[in-house]
């Protein structure tokens, strides 16, 4: 099965005071058609930057400094802006964190829907309005036809995030980059939005890169999980096996601190210390200053990716040579 999205050796640099810091370092992963990949990691791990790179929306001071991004077998990171724009919103859509600020406050949601639809699909205004109303109905907004004339401020946060979902699904994309789509919402509404997102994706076979802080969300909706740490992928594997038996010490620490994980910038209860920032990179394994099981070589040699069962793990403990020797 060839992947819908294939990120290969992605490297993103951020220029700061004339120096290039590496924010994303040699990140590779794939998302199959219709698959939901959860992406987790502490604040600042590089989840949003990775998603932004896939959307082709990196902006100064950040830039892609290496690697390739393939969508449906076609390389997209080298496309010119016009070609990439035609893809954005049509094949690859996005849902961002804050529904309160994702919508233009001066435009009705109907106009925002139809402008998106008419940018990508060859429909006349009446057909676009028709489609917009249908979309609102599908995301569970009552009286959709009347709601087209509403402005964002006339709706609650949950309703607005439904509108954002309608916008994301408006042109039947094959991949959605959802960057913490429920973090800004009331806890009581988070589950509804998540269920809606999952239901719509399953129905249409839409793949999702779902960035979240919430391991509970991962357990519930993700098919596979990618764990990021300090700009690198440390473990990627099927949700079930990752939750049951994570191979990487960092992933295990994450699991142990599940209830607290959504509290940002709080040190992980089970892992003392804090993640290195891009401006102060750590040699060897980036996790070694905090790792309870660090080996001598971890401080100087960067672990490659080893295959453990169905997972990919970047940790020397997973080195088959070492394991067979032990």
């Amino acid at each position: 099965m060839s992947a819908l999205l294939s990120v290969q050796g992605l490297r993103v640099e951020i220029a700061r005071r004339g120096r290039a810091m590496t924010a994303i370092d040699d990140v590779s992963f794939e998302i199959a058609a219709g698959e939901i990949l959860g992406v987790v990691g502490e604040s600042g791990a590089g989840k949003s930057v990775t998603g932004t790179a896939v959307l082709g929306l990196l902006e100064r001071p950040a830039r892609q400094a290496g690697g390739r991004i393939l969508f449906d077998g076609r390389r997209i990171d080298t496309l010119d802006e016009d070609a990439m724009r035609a893809l954005r919103g049509k094949e690859i859509a996005a849902v961002f964190q804050d529904p309160l600020t994702s919508l233009d406050p001066l435009m009705t949601i109907g106009d925002q829907l139809t402008e998106t639809i008419r940018t990508h699909l060859d429909l006349n205004p009446a057909e676009a309005v028709e489609r917009a109303a249908r979309l609102l109905a599908e995301v569970g907004i009552p009286a959709p036809r009347e709601r087209l004339a509403s402005y964002p401020h006339e709706m609650s946060g949950g309703m607005r995030q439904r509108v954002v979902l309608a916008l994301a699904f408006s042109c039947e994309p094959r991949l959605i980059i959802a960057d913490e789509p429920t973090t800004a919402l009331d806890v009581s509404i988070q589950a509804q939005i998540l269920d809606l997102l999952r239901a719509m994706c399953r129905e249409r076979g839409t793949a999702v890169m779902l960035v979240t802080h919430d391991m509970g969300v991962i357990a519930e909706v993700a098919d596979r999980v990618a764990v990021m740490y300090a700009g690198r992928l440390v473990e990627v594997g099927p949700t079930a096996s990752l939750l049951a038996a994570a191979a990487h010490p960092y992933t295990r620490g994450l699991m142990a601190s599940i209830p607290d994980l959504h509290r940002r910038d709080v040190e992980l209860a089970q892992i003392p210390g804090s993640m290195p920032r891009p401006d102060a990179p750590v040699p060897g394994c980036a996790f070694h200053p905090r790792c309870p099981r660090a080996l001598v070589r971890c401080a100087s040699e960067r672990p490659p990716t080893f295959t453990v069962g169905a997972s990919e793990v970047a940790c020397w403990l997973a080195d088959p040579v070492a394991r067979s020797a032990a």
Binding site: R85, F96, D98, D104, L106, E115, Y151, L167
Partner: protein, 327 residues
Amino acid sequence: MSFVLGRLGQTVLVLLVAAFVSFALFRYVGDPVNNMVGQSASLADREAMRAALGLDDAFILQFARFVGNALTGDFGMSYRFGQPVATLIAERFPATLELALISMLIATGLGVPLGVWTALHRDHWAAQALMAASLIGVALPTFLIGIALILFFSVWLGWLPSFGRGQVVAIGGWSTGLLTTSGLRALVLPAVTLGVFQLALILRLARAEMLEVMRADFIRFARARGLKPRAIQYRHALRNTLVPVVTMIGLQFGNVFAFSIIVETVFQWPGLGLLVIQAIQFADVPLLAAYLVLIALCFAVINLAVDLAYVAIDPRVRSGAGVRRTA
């Protein structure tokens, strides 16, 4: 609708306060009787005058009479010119209003598009040159700009007149210089002089607001929706930029009136500014009081216009959600 009514109520209140200040000025700065009958009048004459003016009546009654008279345009006689204040002002007001409006029109018409352009082309050499020029425009004193323009365009090139208003045409009591060539030519230098500072200010604010809006989440999301740059820049970013820019333009009108006094002096422009300078020199209190009320009225009208512009631009104001941004 209730929003507009509320605003109207506020406007009336502001005007009443202005009227009160100007009444207090009229009543208590100097002795009105002294000013009118002169030093040589007898005590009996003075008493008769006091009674005629109603100066012995209750304070509230006097204020009510002042407002009543003001409403009919009666602000009394100018001490200095011996003419009704209303007549004097009616003669001069059109000149100042035309000067102020045209200079604001120039400043807005150039400032907003140039500010937006410099925001969208930050690295273009012309954008950087404009930013540098706008700094100079903000810093240069108005009278210096006026004198430099006169020197260049009137004295050296001889293209434009350096003083006066040119030929005016009266249309129903309003004397306009906008309908004759000489009137328009006379307007160019003063209007530009008055507008330079506003132009620079509006340009810089429009640029700053545009840059800020371009960083907003909804612009990022609009990009993620694959909208064309034109749609993002003009349909989304520009409209959001206009909300604070309109506010500032409204507020700046006050400055324009203040600076017009300088410009009218430099260009011998026969407007209210020149009249007021004379009124101040001669402590012509009725004239000053009327000027104050008139300026307050202008402010009130402009504020109302700004509020109506809000209603047109921002749906949040329309529904009274009150997320209004004020500069």
